[in-house]
């Protein structure tokens, strides 16, 4: 067993590899974000008997780039009555947590380079899950801030909705995960993946189906996707918290939405589907699982209506929270007595 590469045994190699990993992950995430918009438009288009983008490049493949360029060159409008600093800060505050969450997600086993074992993970925090929850909680500040700073009533309503929504759903999501690390005995994502590394049946989706369902549904609510897209409910609040945003700042919100989708898919895959385990190379397995969840989210968006604010709160507090607690009790009983 080769020694684990660390800052103390070969600092230069460690730093350069770290940089390489960060860059690779960043580029992959950005690429997926760009083409997730394309995929969403294509898939929903097909489901709605349309074609989706076709004109820009072959099969419309250059559409995300065209969209990006368009947004980049559009006039950047800051409403006169807005709180300028907060208005500028909000889109960054929502995008950054989305991106840095990816740091703790393992995308493969160890590889041996120059006699050292290098984990395919940017960093393995021993409190990985707490870190994820913390970042998810941070993301909502961006939305609330955007809603407040715009000084527009629709934006404000969107921001308030978002705050209420995230508080009620984060709780259920967090409690759903607790059952997972009751089984794994660790908060480190690497440890959780290792605990599922046996056969397919060791994946926590089979031992924790309830937690899995709860986590997927509450994640949907956390990343504001249909049927829980209340903060930006187009037909009610025009565009919710991002009503007043335009140009690149709007693009940041847009990217954050998709980045969040990727993060949530990756977390779900890591926690419940064995992470990078599977028939192919580690990163490819993980990507396939991520794509599966993203397809599911898109599919749900094409099919379901939107729930109402009070119903959302009802579900969060009176259905999902008790279910998550029940799941913890059952898991605890099983862990202790069996």
């Amino acid at each position: 067993m080769p020694e684990m590469l660390s800052l103390s045994n070969d600092p230069i190699l460690f730093l350069s590899l770290m940089l390489a990993k960060i860059l690779a992950v960043f580029i992959v995430v950005i690429l997926i974000v760009a083409y997730a918009t394309y995929a969403e438009r294509k898939i929903i288009g097909r489901m709605q008997t349309r074609l989706g983008p076709t004109m820009t490049g072959p099969l419309g493949l250059l559409q995300p780039i065209a969209d990006g360029l368009k947004l980049f060159f559009k006039e950047d409008i800051i409403p006169a009555q807005s709180s300028k600093l907060a208005f500028l800060l909000a889109p960054m505050m929502i995008l950054v947590p989305a991106f840095i969450t990816v740091a703790v997600i393992p995308f493969g086993g160890d590889v041996v380079i120059k006699g050292f074992a290098v984990p395919l993970q940017i960093t393995d925090l021993n409190i990985g899950i707490l870190y994820i929850l913390a970042m998810a909680g941070l993301g909502v500040y961006g939305i609330v801030l955007a809603g407040w700073a715009s000084n527009s009533k629709y934006s404000l309503l969107g921001g308030i909705r978002s705050a209420a929504q995230v508080i009620s759903y984060e709780l259920a999501a967090g409690l759903a995960i607790i059952a997972v690390f009751m089984l794994s005995g660790t908060l480190s994502l690497r440890g959780i993946v290792a605990a599922q590394s046996g056969s397919v049946l060791d994946w926590y989706i089979f031992s924790q189906p309830l937690a899995f369902c709860l986590f997927v549904i509450t994640s949907l609510a956390e990343i504001n996707r249909t049927p829980f897209d209340l903060p930006e409910a187009e037909t009610e609040l025009v565009s919710g918290f991002c009503t007043e945003y335009s140009s690149m700042k709007y693009a940041l919100f847009f990217m954050a939405e998709y980045a969040n989708m990727i993060v949530v898919s990756a977390i779900t895959a890591t926690l419940f589907l064995g992470g990078p385990a599977g028939p192919f190379a580690g990163p490819i397995n993980l990507l396939l699982k991520v794509f599966f969840f993203m397809f599911l989210f898109i599919w749900i968006r094409a099919t379901f209506p939107r729930v109402r604010y009070d119903q959302l709160m009802f579900m969060g507090w009176k259905v999902f929270l008790p279910l998550a607690l029940l799941n913890i009790v059952i898991t605890g009983a099983v862990v202790v007595f069996l």
Partner: protein, 392 residues
């Protein structure tokens, strides 16, 4: 205790789901609606006044632009009123009557499809929107084939129809009504059983039967409150008494029942269209009233009498006896009524339109007070308003 403040929010006239240029001034306490005041008039074109300066023939295209989702129903109401004013209601040929019923029912389906599409979209189910528009497109194609225009059909004429059915039109209609129940099942598959849809519609935007009658609600909105009233059956026109159909009534008084009502109405419309297709016999399409109806084109081109006749009607128009009439039709959105006064000249002295959407909109404040913001959207959708008709 802190002072409780409400927030006033202007919903519309530029808002994705106020179905046009409706402005709603909402007073919100959090997300709860304290008070809702609809403001209308952004689409006012003065149709009633314009009609006073046009001959009866030339006022017809104006009616296309009232409820632009159901132009043929508007046309039908108008021509029936003028015919009543002229006293030639009995002389309308059978074929014209049957085609009118057929087209009016197709129009009902067309209008209800847009209603379902936008209603579902407002509540967040966006796929239904495109499915409905796919079917609506087929009706638009039929419109185009029949009258030459996809929306502003301008097809009926005082005394009958402007043109006979084109070749293959009946086959199009038959194949459409054969497929339509299947499509309706698809929409229902996406919505009716869906728990989220039910949560968003059951018990939402309630209006009791009493209130509905007091306000003057008509159409599916009234029948969703359990009032069994349909002009096609209770005050038949254009030969509706000869058709066998059910008036769909539910007494849930809520958005869900109005939704189910309209879907079932589309199924009933398919039945009526099928009966109309069976009834269709060759024959004249214009009444034999030379003072009112234009002569056939071939007479105009070939004979001097026809030519003079054409000139006389177009330049002078026709002059009904002084008097006044009211005729209501069951348009897709409710009772569409025309009240017309003639002073013996070639132009209407006064044309008053009773648009169903205008009257139905009055129910909105009652439906949404004390409810949530999201219910306002559902209420606007369930009332099925069209601003072209409200503002006239």
């Amino acid at each position: 205790m802190a002072k409780k403040e409400t927030m006033t929010i202007n919903m519309g006239p530029q808002h994705p789901s106020t179905h046009g240029v409706l402005q709603l001034v909402l007073e919100l306490d959090g997300e709860t609606v304290v008070n809702a005041v609809p403001h209308i008039g952004f689409l006012h074109r003065g149709v009633e006044k314009l009609a006073e300066n046009r001959s009866y023939h030339r006022a017809l295209p104006l009616t296309d632009r009232l409820d632009y989702l159901a132009p043929m129903s508007n046309n039908l109401g108008y021509v029936l009123t003028v015919e009543k004013l002229l006293g030639i209601t009995d002389q309308i040929p059978e074929r014209a009557k049957v085609v009118r019923v057929m087209m009016a029912e197709l129009t009902r389906i067309k209008s209800h499809l847009v209603w379902l599409a936008t209603h579902a979209l407002d509540i967040g189910a966006m796929t239904v929107f495109l499915y409905c528009f796919r079917e609506r497109e087929q009706i638009m194609d039929m419109y185009e084939k029949l009258s030459g225009a996809r929306m502003t059909s301008n097809y009926f004429r005082v005394g009958g129809l402007s043109l006979d059915l084109p070749e293959g039109f009946v086959d199009d209609v038959t194949s459409f009504i054969d497929d339509m129940p299947g499509h309706l099942d698809t929409y229902e598959g996406l919505l009716t059983g869906n728990k989220i849809w039910q949560k968003r519609t059951v018990g939402v935007a309630p209006i009791s039967a009493e209130d509905a009658i007091d306000i003057g609600l008509t159409g599916p909105a009234l029948r969703g409150s359990g009032v069994d009233w349909d002009l096609r059956r209770d005050n038949p026109y254009s030969g509706y008494e000869d058709y066998d159909f059910e008036v769909i009534t539910r007494d849930g008084c809520d958005t869900f029942d109005r939704y189910k009502n309209r879907l079932d109405e589309m199924r009933e419309s398919c039945k009526i269209i099928r009966q109309a297709v069976d009834k269709l016999q060759p024959g004249p399409i214009l009444a034999d009233v030379p003072d009112v109806c234009l002569p056939p084109k071939k007479d105009v081109v070939n004979s001097i009498e026809g030519l003079i006749h054409q000139f006389k009607i177009i330049t002078e128009g026709f002059k009904p006896e002084p008097g006044e009439v009211y005729q209501g039709v069951e348009a897709p959105k409710g009772e569409l009524g025309y009240y017309m006064i003639s002073d013996g000249s070639a132009n209407p002295f006064r044309m008053k339109i009773r648009p169903p959407s205008f009257v139905n909109l009055q129910a909105l404040p009652k439906m949404v007070e004390g409810k949530l913001l999201a219910d306002v959207i559902a209420a606007i959708g369930t009332l099925d308003i069209v601003l072209g008709e409200i503002d006239r």
